[in-house]
């Protein structure tokens, strides 16, 4: 019998398969129902929420770069209360885990959101301590291990759900950041968020994005993401959700081999909204072809030839 076991346990959150979709690239799921059966997903990370509604940054908010894109959406979202009332019931119809990406200007705001969501049916919270598009707070939280520890630790006290901490790649040493999140009480970490980047329109002599800088995502950053997932997975004992430039199942397998227990697809959803299905099928096929019975057998299996 060649059934493949794709289930993964993220330290208290069980996904039926290790393929999730990344925050900010999947809205609240509605737009994708035309292209994809949401029931097939391991989990959905919804668009980043803040306590209050946020209008986001002026346009242009996007610039294509060589095999990447920079965005400066600036966390446009309807606020956590609206989400709970209007979007969560829709998402809960599907047989998939609802993971809510939460954001704050202050630690208190993070805690407040965690408290609100703890009383709802969301399955997990993903603490975004790294969004480069928010001016106050935001960035600084995710760049210093001490701050990562502090925000995780505080939010932990208000969060009754599974807690994921999402790490910023704009740091000196991802290992110490991962360890700080673990020590702070995260059940799981996810990485990487976008890398801060800038593109310039040489005709107008302005930045392409109205806000100047933005977050670089897509295949361009995949080598950075794979490296950081490798480093993080080897530094902590909690599970890791890997992301950054995954376009197909082969990219996904790189992340599993590097040590990710699950993966998240971001930018690729914007190009092929059905890509998650292809990735899930491809992973299954790879596992089978290589003679394994379960996804767990390949997690962290990469070997460095010279070692």
């Amino acid at each position: 019998m060649s059934r493949v076991d794709l289930k993964v346990d993220l330290n208290g959150l069980t996904l039926k398969n290790p393929v999730t979709v990344a925050s900010g690239t999947f809205g609240f799921g509605r737009e994708f129902t035309d292209y994809l059966d949401l029931n097939i997903l391991g989990g959905i990370m919804v668009k980043g929420l803040t306590l209050e509604e946020r209008k986001g940054n002026p346009t242009p908010r996007v610039s294509e770069t060589p095999m990447g894109m920079i965005n400066s959406v600036g966390l446009q979202n309807p606020g956590v209360e609206y989400f709970v009332k209007e979007e969560l019931p829709f998402l809960k119809q599907f047989d998939t885990k609802v993971i809510v990406n939460i954001n704050g200007n202050t630690i208190e705001e993070y805690c407040k959101i965690a408290e609100i969501l703890s009383k709802t049916s969301v399955d997990s919270m993903e603490l975004n301590i790294s969004c480069p598009n928010v001016k106050r707070g935001g960035v600084s939280f995710g760049r210093e291990p001490e701050m990562v520890y502090e925000v995780t630790n505080k939010v932990r006290q208000y969060c009754d759900k599974h807690l994921i901490v999402k790490l910023s790649p704009n740091v000196k040493d991802i290992k110490e950041i991962a360890i700080a999140a673990e020590k702070g009480g995260a059940d799981c970490i996810s990485l990487i968020n976008t890398v801060i980047g800038m593109a310039i329109d040489i005709e107008n002599q302005t930045t392409v994005l109205a806000r100047g800088m933005g977050g670089l995502s897509g295949p361009a950053i995949k080598p950075i993401a794979v490296r950081m997932v490798y480093e993080a997975a080897n530094s902590v004992s909690i599970p890791v959700i890997g992301m950054g430039g995954i376009m197909n199942y082969r990219d996904a397998i790189e992340f599993f081999l590097a040590g990710a227990n699950a993966i998240s697809i971001g930018t690729a959803n914007l190009i092929n909204p059905w890509v998650a299905r292809e990735v899930i099928d491809g992973i299954k096929e790879y596992i089978k072809t290589k003679g394994y019975g379960s996804i767990k057998e390949i997690i962290g299996k990469v070997r460095i030839p010279s070692l």
């Binding site: 900010g24 690239t25 999947f26 809205g27 509605r30 737009e31 994708f32 035309d34 292209y35 994809l36 059966d37 668009k47 209008k55 986001g56 002026p58 346009t59 242009p60 908010r61 996007v62 610039s63 294509e64 095999m67 990447g68 894109m69 965005n71 959406v73 446009q76 897509g218 295949p219 376009m247 930018t267 959803n269 914007l270 190009i271 092929n272 909204p273 059905w274």
Partner: protein
């Protein structure tokens, strides 16, 4: 469930310097396509360039879809270099399209530059309605294109060019102002560069005529997922909001849109 449509190119010609008319086979199971909607096209063979390119549908036929593409960069260059018989990967139809449920019967259609492309199907459909008088005003920076195509559906057509003397030399918004003084219109449709749309919006408000604008914004997904393509619109009396050009638009009523600066 929508599919990945890979469509065969049945025709590709350069209709004027740098602008290609590309006709593709319409997938059998593609839903209804409306004037003003667009498709998000993959431009490369491989995964490069990364993002799709939004292109309005210019003519919708039973068997085919026609796009008019201006070569302005890498992606449009690659699209236009595809030969008849080759394939394009399209996603769509996307966006809301023009609202053609209009009753009044004096209609002005104003296009500027590449913005004339999506207006062709609009004019075609309007021309099929009873009791509608259509005047088309097309503005170009230099040499006009697609004028003959429009003439298939309307007689009343004015061409303006910034560089050359046709019906008018200068911005198309000048004869437009004239026209609105001369005659009472019930509806305006427009597509073109932002500064032009802003003038059209203002003229509409001054003359109390509803205006539908087809807006362009830099996009990624084109389907409402990523929020990069926002357009600033009015919300109540004093407030405003960012909505998605790809989903709530690309066609907006002039009165909704806030043009900054």
């Amino acid at each position: 469930m929508n599919k990945n449509y890979i469509c065969k190119i049945v025709h590709n010609t350069e209709i004027t310097a740098g602008i290609h008319k590309i006709v593709i086979e319409k997938p059998k199971d593609l839903g209804k396509v409306k004037a003003g909607q667009f498709f998000n096209l993959k431009s490369g063979e491989e995964e490069y360039p990364l993002l799709r390119r939004p292109i309005s549908v210019s003519i919708i036929d039973d068997e085919t879809l026609t796009f008019l593409i201006n070569k302005v960069g890498k992606g449009t260059m690659l699209l236009c270099s595809k030969n008849k018989g080759e394939y394009i990967d399209i996603l769509g139809p996307l966006g809301n399209g023009f609202n053609l449920d209009i009753e009044k019967n004096n209609v002005l259609v104003v296009g500027g530059g590449m913005g004339v492309a999506p207006l062709l199907e609009l004019v075609k459909q309007l021309s099929l309605k009873d009791d509608i008088d259509i005047k088309v005003m097309l503005g170009y920076s230099d040499i006009p294109f697609m004028v003959e195509d429009f003439k298939e559906f309307v007689d009343d057509l004015i061409v303006a060019s910034e560089k050359k003397e046709f019906d008018y030399k200068g911005y198309v918004t000048e004869p437009l102002k004239q026209e609105l003084q001369n005659k009472k219109y019930d509806h305006i449709f427009a597509c073109g560069p932002k500064p032009m749309l802003k003038v059209v919006k203002n003229l509409g408000e001054e003359n109390d005529i509803p205006v539908q604008l087809l807006m362009e914004e830099r996009m990624a997904c084109g389907m409402g997922a990523c929020l990069v393509c926002t357009c600033k619109v009015k919300k109540g009396e004093d407030d405003w909001n960012y909505v998605r050009t790809c989903k709530e638009g690309p066609v907006f009523y002039g009165e909704e849109v806030i043009f900054d600066e």
